[in-house]
Symmetry: D2
Subunit: 92 residues, 4 copies
């Protein structure tokens, strides 16, 4: 059976991702219109920061729900190793 | 007069940004379909890393063209301060 | 009662920190001897990366031991919130 | 001839590095005394942030002095490539 996760703040996450998609489209347009690259770089930093917030929100829900359930069902070590792998990717 | 920059690798940048936009839309769909959040987090990391490559490519072109021109025209200090501000945002 | 943690790999961590302390002293000496700043910057990056490895090792031990114990003793939510706070500081 | 750099804010940099060395020694002591690992992790984050400030200060001086001189002497491309390499290491 495939693992699934119903996000507790699903609609909020979907809205944020919609907005980020629009921001990426905006950067595409800035490049297409030969906009000054320093302005583009600041806009990309804003996207990175918005994306990072989505990551942390997902991670937080994951830790409070999936990881806690796993520990209570005796699969804690596996769930925590998986959590650490994600964190290593995120802090790289 | 507004500053503009014609990117030397404009088409390549536009292609990359198109791909990133698609990846963000993919993450939106993963959340919508209740996909396992660890998989979503790894996908977001891939987007962050692709976005970081776009930043560095823009920064590199900017430094080799705009900054060098500015130094040769006697506006180097201002151009380099601006470059450092972008760097600070990117390493934050 | 104050919280304490006996690190499972205590001696290895202490050795790594000793080495990092020596590397910081080395950077001090490089600045003092007017060494080329690009070389200094690469050396600082090496320190940052060594320090990051110490953080991740501590975090991993913490999650597998303290957080798991806390969940099993019914204090999981608090322990996981604390873990997320550290994560936020580390990915900032 | 070996490249050297006399830092314009040499004494301030040396003081900061001395302080960071003391902070690393402090973390060593915290581990040795079995201090709570979340406290240690916050302390390491403070060191990383102090170290990052030293990097940015060095980078800023480097860009305003060495890179500008190089551009004026016709070696700009080489100096800027070197600067970008350092920046890539720092944003990795």
């Amino acid at each position: 059976m495939e693992k699934t996760t119903i996000q507790p703040n699903k609609q909020q996450l979907l809205n944020r991702l919609k907005r980020i998609e629009g921001q990426v489209r905006g950067v595409h347009q800035m490049v297409d219109n030969d906009r000054y690259c320093v302005d583009i770089l600041h806009q990309i930093s804003a996207i990175q920061s918005a994306m990072n917030k989505v990551s942390l929100a997902l991670l937080e829900d994951h830790a409070h729900h999936c990881v806690m359930n796993a520990v209570q069902n005796g699969n804690g070590d596996e769930a925590i190793s998986e959590l650490m792998d994600v964190m290593k990717t995120m802090t790289k």
